[in-house]
Symmetry: C3
Subunit: 350 residues, 3 copies
């Protein structure tokens, strides 16, 4: 169901304050976690379950670099070992809580849900964070009640922009006719294409004269499950009809996004979007942010409707179309990882 | 569970406008449908599921006599065949969506959920629609969260009027002592009786002098699943003690009703009720409509409470009483149809 | 799952008026009941299910000492026998509804869910009711969505007061270091201990000078499932370091509590709390009542969080600590009763 040896986004760095009650409860890939920041700012991720009687540690209290369960007062260090049981002098060997490797990068918090020894930060998708001085980024979040396979399939095929987002990010059928080139990477796909001679998106059409056209150069890197970056740069219409546009750059935009499955039926979707400071103008990033918030609610409505239909009749047949190439490749990578993990567990049973 | 070779009510004609977004999502007998009106006013009913990736077509858009899925833009004609896949020139053979036979009659929309070849409009229960100039009818709707067998059992035994509706449609124990004559028909029952010497119903008692009494002649035709008409005519008290009343007609009322199971646990209940224009007076049909709306919420509360108890203890025994004859006959007809369909599927496997 | 041969609390006497609509629907140990008061004030408890078609009798109407189902008008005497079926002259033998033994004591209504012949009122936990002139008691109620085993484990170990209730009933770690003496009784445990040299609880700290200390003498009697009384008496600090305090009595408080499982996932929790009139002062019992209401919501939050974690991963291991002795003994008594009932059913199959 879930790839465990993978980094999952648990939110933005701003979600974890140093405050005494700065405890963040998250559900990731079917497990309940609590995250908190130590006095030295390092982030701890633990199973959100006291080893005594399973009370949520997220209802607890931070004490120095430790967390105290507020049911019976058991205290756990940042390595998950119990260091105090009020009323007892001896701490049982087994009194500890599972911890998870954590990396903070690009203002994101990443948690490794599998074997700690395999937690290689090189597997985290490169991104641009809101702290990057070259970009003016806004942050957003939406919960989507679907299986994450549908969510990442949605994101791996932007031809849906023409339809789902016709009133926001879309506004022409140019998106229907894109010819993406998807290259397989170690854990995902790398996709490039140019949307040529397209009018401005619906949300920005009023800013331009009737008939204005642009080339949009797109570069998407996705790695399962499921972090990805979108680099959209808007150009004047160029003369090239194949390969990248050769029109002059007008606006450079960048989005970093992460889909974290909560469980089989629900995802957390984190996203940033904005313009390079070199090409931004006052109000533009905010306009784009409003449009994105609207658009991701359009996705949510479509994806939740789709998932309802899928659950009503799980064995209904489906017809493939040309735009399925991206989702197909990405889910193929995901399935390959899932199978490799299942095999590894078979060989070395837990 | 559900008879498939049957007409199910999908609502009133007024529920389907010619507007661009006039898409009606309905759940009928365990299937999800979308209905829309073509420019020539004909109604199309389709499975509410794009054949590509199962997105709901009810989140789509009408284009001429077609419907376009707004996930990836696939367009389907009124026969369910895909006629356009944006970005592709060839349409795969299998790209089509199931459609359902539809008949509009008596201002009602009827959908056939089984084999199209067997869709015989003669099987639709005769009714009087709100468009009939001889009657002054009002329309109502209530969703009831129960299995439809309980809903139709409720409707097939009007002795409950004395109790469930004591504050509205009832008001005397005359309804407890009715002796209905139920005749089996091809797909239901035909029931006649006279409620003799009964005071006016609670909702209308203030209109009459103390002690006023009437005969109410009742004729109910029910056909599974589950359309029915009720003809109540109010007469001055007559001298007959058996058979129809021979009192003078005072008020002629008519109700057409339909129960459409959504799934095993929920029904849509559509109803009209009103007076003949020959016997109506200003305000009377509205008074009756208010009382019916109240009464059907009384039914809803009772039926939902009953269903909760049934689910809590499905094997609890039950005692039969004299008033179960009508429900028993109707459910017998239903079970006969269900068994016949099950046998047919066994012989010719799908 | 549930001990059936046991008294369960169905609420306070004040919950059952003599009013015509004074029908109380309760769910107890997985069964649905209706309770009502006869004209002579005696309480009747019946299965909340008409024997005809399972309609809830709690939607019915009181008539003298009987209850009438308002679906088809069947009337049942206080012994559950049907005495009237409108429209029928003969009442079928089997037309009756199960009744349950009821005892009213200490302003509480107790219902026996098992074999009536075994309903021994001596098994009801002794309590002090709000009607007792020697005590000034307040009543409260909270629904907790957890399995009742977790609820009674919570109540059998008051070391949690130090943590869960640190802002209300707790306020010192004295509660973490209690050394309760649990004595097994026929159907529960009897627990005594002294909390020595403890500051006033958080909710009352402002009433005393800095550094004020007290001895709290605790006596708890619990019987499964699950009624219990807590007798807390507050004393000046005494010189005894073992056994009961020998300090002068300052305040005598008493709480009677009952946990009634609704089903596997939910409990009703009824409680009273207050001071002896001999030691009370104006406003004190109200202050304590407010603190208790707050505290029991703190328990609710912790218990519901714990139960969510337990359902997410039912096989997660757990580590025992010294404070588990009370809950362990109480659950041992419960399991012994559950096993005895299971054996009895095996020998004499129903």
């Amino acid at each position: 169901m879930f790839v465990k040896n993978a980094w999952y986004c648990a939110g933005w760095d701003k979600d974890l304050s140093l405050g005494r009650d700065g405890l963040l409860a998250r559900r990731i890939a079917g497990e309940s976690l609590v995250l908190y920041r130590r006095p030295d700012a390092a982030v701890v991720a633990m199973e959100d379950r006291c080893c005594h009687r399973h009370a949520p540690l997220s209802l607890g209290r931070k004490e120095g670099d430790s967390i105290r369960c507020m049911y019976h007062g058991m205290k756990f260090g940042p390595d998950g070992r119990c260091t105090e049981i009020p009323g007892m002098s001896r701490i049982p060997e087994k009194a500890c809580v599972r911890t998870y490797p954590v990396v903070e990068r690009d203002n994101w918090i990443w948690v490794w849900m599998g074997e700690p020894a395999k937690a290689d930060p090189a597997l985290i998708c490169e991104a641009i964070g809101p702290g990057d001085p070259a970009w003016n980024l806004r942050l957003g979040y939406v919960r989507v009640d679907t299986n994450y396979r549908q969510e990442i399939a949605n994101l791996a095929d932007l031809s849906h922009v023409a339809w789902v987002h016709s009133q926001t990010l879309g506004g022409s059928d140019a998106w229907s006719n894109i010819k993406p080139r998807h290259e397989l990477t170690e854990r995902g796909i790398d996709t490039r294409y140019c949307v040529r001679r397209t009018p401005p998106p619906s949300f920005a059409r009023h800013l331009f004269p009737e008939g204005a056209l642009f080339d949009i150069q797109v570069h998407v890197r996705m790695s399962v499950p499921c972090n990805f970056i979108l680099h959209f740069s808007v150009h004047e219409v160029g003369s090239a009809t194949e390969g990248p546009t050769n029109g002059r750059l007008v606006l450079d935009t960048f989005s970093s996004q992460a889909v974290t499955p909560r469980d089989a039926h629900s995802c957390d979707y984190y996203y940033s979007w904005g313009c390079s400071r070199a090409t931004d103008m006052p109000g533009l990033t905010d306009l784009m942010h409003e449009a994105n918030n609207d658009a991701f609610l359009e996705d949510k409505a479509m994806l939740e409707g789709q998932y309802q239909r899928m659950r009503e009749r799980p064995d209904a047949p489906s017809v493939d179309i040309v735009h399925d190439a991206g989702p197909g490749k990405l889910l193929w990578v995901l399935d390959r990882l899932l199978k490799a993990e299942a095999r590894a567990i078979e060989i070395v049973p837990a």
